[in-house]
């Protein structure tokens, strides 16, 4: 990585990230868990009960207004599925170079969480993809159906770790 460039940026930038962390902690206390603060990236682990409240706070108060990506990660060892939202900002000049990451950790056998469409309309297709690829069910999603896979797909969701493509079983 560009060591010097990144170093300079981090000394300038980490104040901004600290500010975001402070504001979130002041609002939510120990209901959210800070996973890491890196230059321009802040990740919180949020429980699914307050995810809507958290997202609404991030959009309205902090100005993180558009979704960049929704990714699901399967951890069979911990029996967890992480749904990781990456949210960026266009309108808040101070935070626009930062990406707010918040993850919801779900039970692998029963992954259900509320949808974030009421707050970020753009996550509709990202969530459908996560549903299809990892089997996460988003409560309240209007069209939770096949998106990328063929209509006759009858296997387990392909991005789960126990799905192996043919010839690649370990």
């Amino acid at each position: 990585m560009s060591q010097q460039g990144q170093g300079q940026a981090s000394t300038d930038q980490l104040t901004v990230e600290k500010e975001i962390v402070d504001r979130v902690i002041a609002r939510f206390g120990d209901k959210v868990k800070l996973a890491y603060v890196k230059p321009r990236r802040i990740r919180f682990n949020v429980s699914k009960d307050i995810i809507l409240e958290f997202a609404r706070y991030a959009r309205d108060e902090l100005g993180f207004d558009h979704p960049i990506s929704v990714a699901g990660v399967d951890y069979p060892k911990n029996k967890l599925i992480d749904v990781v939202y990456h949210i960026g900002s266009c309108t808040n000049d101070k935070f626009r170079s930062s990406v707010l990451v918040f993850a919801v950790q779900l039970d692998r056998d029963d992954p259900v969480m509320p949808t974030l469409i009421p707050i970020y309309r753009g996550v509709e297709y990202h969530e459908r993809e996560t549903f299809e690829m990892l089997g996460v069910i988003f409560d309240g999603h209007p069209r939770l159906e096949r998106l990328l896979l063929p209509e006759d797909w009858a296997d387990i969701p392909p991005l789960r770790k126990d799905f192996h493509t043919k010839g690649r079983e370990e």
């Binding site: 896979l149 063929p150 209509e151 296997d155 392909p158 799905f163 493509t165 043919k166 010839g167």
Partner: protein, 185 residues
């Protein structure tokens, strides 16, 4: 036989349309064309093949990223049109060439077959790119067919990932060579 066809029994079939025409006019045309084909096979077969091979119309069907080089091939520098392959065309009822441009996924395969079935005879298929031939880079993907020839018959394989436009042009010339040497049907 011809006499019998030309003087049909009018009372045999009645429809809204065949008031004036012979009832089995269509059959007559079909038979006539068969007779014609037999008559002109030897002398004109070469001419008809010649006509076909210089006016191949590819159907506008992209399946994956090789369509980029297909586009470049119809651009000004490579200009595949000078070899008689005309730019991709929207209506598949008027097409006789299908260039499978890259990976065919499991979702696309039934559609490819459907489009192939709707094209009129004679029709030819070029499999363009490594993915259309064997699956290519995506040999171990869960959603990619290992080659298109399990779905539709292929005439010419054009290797490359993606093939350069020159390679595609060579493939087209090979196809024309094939049409030239095939017995006209």
């Amino acid at each position: 036989m011809l006499r019998e066809l030309l003087s049909p029994k009018r009372e045999s079939s009645r429809g809204a349309l065949d008031g004036e025409r012979p009832a089995n006019f269509n059959i007559l045309v079909g038979k006539l064309s068969e007779v014609l084909v037999k008559a002109i096979d030897k002398p004109l077969g070469y001419a008809i093949n010649w006509g076909r091979l210089w006016s191949l119309w590819p159907v506008h069907l992209e399946t994956a990223c090789c369509s980029l080089e297909f586009g470049a091939a119809s651009g000004p520098r490579y200009d595949v049109e000078r070899f008689g392959i005309i730019e991709a065309f929207g209506s598949l009822r008027q097409c006789d060439l299908m260039v499978i441009q890259g990976t065919v996924t499991r979702k696309m395969a039934p559609r490819v077959r459907m489009i192939y079935d709707q094209m009129p005879e004679p029709k030819y298929v070029i499999a363009m790119g490594a993915c259309a031939i064997t699956g290519g880079l995506y040999f171990d993907s869960y959603n990619v067919l290992p080659g298109i020839d399990g779905v539709i018959p292929v005439d010419v394989y054009v290797p490359g990932c993606p093939p350069r436009p020159e390679t595609l042009i060579q493939g087209c010339i090979l196809l024309q060579e094939k049409i030239k040497r095939t017995r006209f049907r």
